[in-house]
Amino acid sequence: MNYSGPVRTGRVGVGELTALLTIYTATDVFLSYPSRVAKESAESGWMIPLVSGVIVLAVFLIINACMKRFPDENILDVARQELTVFVSVPLGIIFMLLFFSQTALVMREFTETVITTVLPRTPSTVVALLFMAVVYYFAYKGIEGLSRLAMLLSAILGIGLLSLLIMPLTWFDVHLLQPFWGRGMLTTIFYGGTNTSMFLNVLLLSLLYPTVRNQRQFVRVGVISIGLTAVLMSLVLIVFIGVFPAAPTGQVPFPMYQLARLIYIGRFVQRLESVFVFLWTAAAVLKMGLGLWMTAYLYASTFKMPLYRPLLPAIALALYVVSFLPPDFPSVQLISANIFEPYGWTVSIALPVVIAVVLYLRSGRAQGNHSKRRIARAARAN
């Protein structure tokens, strides 16, 4: 038998995966995402995540409809079988690079955030090293651990985020959300489209398809995680724009941190930003853990390796090095804003849907072939 089977991952529950994907995507909220979106679209910034969410949801449903024909296999495996390795290997490498570079970027951005906000005199290498150690452990534990932790933390993170959004409401001014259309309806929709780059849910889902324990509820995972992410991002932007008149100018580099600093509810409940460090550290560690794991998993999956764990040290080291390539924090943000956001969607959204549609059409033509394959798979399972 040539086919070595998928990388062993363990299986995850529906709730867990939903929590993990939501946290993975919504963590951008703690970084410069709200600031960038507010700058792009001014007062209507809060619509952007919703627009992106709708687009992403549509894409997800399309992919889901196409991939229904291939139960138990992720998009890479199917591509390998239907379109040969000449398609699947480059595809896997592209996906892997996306996750790799995204994780490196987030890592740098996060390291800088920690330094600027809580540990100003600690060298960035030390902060990043500690961070890497935890992320490595997370990736080592794999998606099972990550998703469970996401489930466990989802309540805490949810409550934390909500209180972080509610407590600064003493400063909230509805008028700051007007004019309604911000920089114009078309601008809003345009940026809503490009910001789909932030939603890696679709790609993640099409890759993690076989790990879901209950595949019938797969659609639910996608819809809930995408919807929840969009709503959370939107809420954050509403509060952010309604509290900071300067939001549309993009002057606030760490929006959530600034929001936390604004909390002043009487003499005792104030200066709480250090408490909220918990939120973004926890979320960031989860996000990066999944990023590192995905990179290793994709690498192993692309080249048909049975295990991903031996790859982790090398990838982690590479991640650490690459994350320090940009010289300073503004350039990190520039990379985010000028490369990832405008072009990221081609990989995160467009590529999967194209592949899925191609696979769908091909397998539709060769339906008999497909059913033969299914029998073979059943035989293998036995």
Partner: protein
């Protein structure tokens, strides 16, 4: 097995390294000097003076030898000594200041920043830029403008009750919200006032009252020190005796980041009523019925203020307010239990409020060309996009603005007694 042990050693060594070289940001509490209030003054064009009040832990918290109730201000000053220094920038001045304080200065427990009127008139932006960037400053600091000598405000501050310098500031914020004689503005609001298109910030004024300052310790608080004919809402000239010589009344009016004028305590109340900073004020006015004497009425919003703005060459601003009132005290012999008298009083109150508000708006718009009311906020929804809004120059049309104020008051409660007690 051997490999994993090797790995373990590697991790242990790495950890050890981190632990040994770690603690980069650690600093013990007793190694820091916490400033609780900071004053910024401009000496000349290129020099900044910084004056700060340091909290001395052992004296402030009253743990060590708190021989309670030892009267007076000298205690307050020794518990929170004042230091100052100058420099070309804020940070330089602060570093200079640190040469005279053994411990590292930490600003994270700052509760208020004060600007001298000199600095405020020259423009706050240079300082604000620094403050916003530095992580130890926060946007929840209270902001004040000091009238007259800044050193007076720092050195002659003698709180009546408080021993903690932070609490003094927080108390000022509480009381000014109750009386309305001063605004209570935090850094965030100040910055918002600057950043919001078509609006200007206001800042409360701290001033040194000479009349109180002159008093000797023995006769402090005596009625004899009061001026028999004067009632003054002007900062630094309030007719009172005893208490803290530093008083918080009045508002500094800004146009952009430049201070352009001072509003009295009375004007401040109507300003706050209009821009929504407070919801309740006490109005004293001659009673329209009964003996020619004064009534005091607590007035608060019955429903939120409604403002409609028509944008044109001569913008029209319609302010619609409806209040409910409670009779607090009256020195007349009139009975307000009757419908007729009540309506008369209501109308009189409405016109009193309206008169003051219109007067205030006219003065501010025409004389100072400032917009502390943020009326433009109510017009934002008339724009479709941000760019349109940015293009619109609200400030230019302020002078031509037509303001129409409609007020209605309904007297809902009369207090503990319906009619005045009858003197036989």
């Amino acid at each position: 097995m051997r490999r994993s042990r090797l790995f373990g050693y590697a991790i242990a060594v790495a950890l050890l390294q981190v632990l040994i070289t770690g603690c980069f940001d650690r600093s013990e509490l007793e190694e820091q000097a916490f400033l609780v209030t900071l004053g910024i003054d401009q000496l000349d064009k290129s020099h900044v003076a910084v004056i700060g009040r340091v909290a001395v832990p052992s004296k402030l918290s009253g743990t060590a030898g708190g021989s309670g109730g030892s009267a007076g201000g000298s205690d307050f000053l020794s518990g929170a000594p004042v230091v100052s220094a100058s420099g070309r920038s804020l940070h330089e001045a602060l570093n200079m200041m640190n040469t005279g304080i053994e411990r590292t200065i930490n600003l994270s427990h700052l509760s208020a920043v004060m600007f001298s009127d000199r600095a405020a008139k020259a423009g706050l932006l240079p300082y604000l830029h620094t403050l916003v960037r530095y992580r130890e400053f926060r946007r929840t600091l209270y902001v004040f403008v000091t009238k007259g000598s800044m050193s007076d405000v720092f050195l002659k501050d003698q709180p009546v009750l408080e021993t903690s310098a932070t609490r003094v500031i927080e108390d000022l914020h509480e009381t000014s919200q109750r009386t309305g004689y001063a605004t209570s503005v935090e850094m965030h609001q100040l910055l918002n006032g600057l950043e919001v298109p078509g609006g200007d910030p206001v800042v409360p004024i701290l001033s040194y009252n000479k009349q109180v300052g002159r008093e000797s310790k023995k006769s402090s608080g005596s009625v004899n020190h009061l001026d028999p004919h004067e009632i003054s809402y002007v900062p630094g000239q309030v007719n009172r005796a005893g208490g803290n010589p530093v008083e918080c009344i009045g508002t500094a009016l800004f146009k952009s980041d430049h201070m352009v004028g001072v509003l009295s305590g009375e004007q401040t109340r109507y300003l706050q009523l209009l821009n929504g900073m407070i919801g309740r004020i006490v109005i004293n006015m001659k009673s329209p019925v009964g003996n020619p004497n004064y009534v005091s009425v607590g007035v608060k919003y019955a429903e939120p203020i409604r403002v409609s703005v028509r944008l044109s060459k001569n913008p029209q601003i319609r302010v619609n307010q409806s209040f409910e009132a409670e009779l607090l005290g009256d020195q007349t012999n009139a009975t307000f239990a009757s419908d007729k008298n009540r309506q008369i009083l209501e109308r009189a109150l409405a016109s009193e409020i309206k008169r003051n508000e219109v007067g205030l708006i006219q003065t501010v718009f025409k004389k100072y060309d400032a917009e502390p009311f943020h009326f433009f906020e109510y017009a934002r929804n008339q724009f479709h996009t941000y760019n349109q809004m940015e293009k619109f120059n609200w400030r230019k049309q302020l002078a031509n603005a037509q303001v129409q104020v409609t007020t209605s008051v309904s007297l809902r409660r009369l207090g503990m007694q319906l009619n005045p007690p009858v003197a036989e």
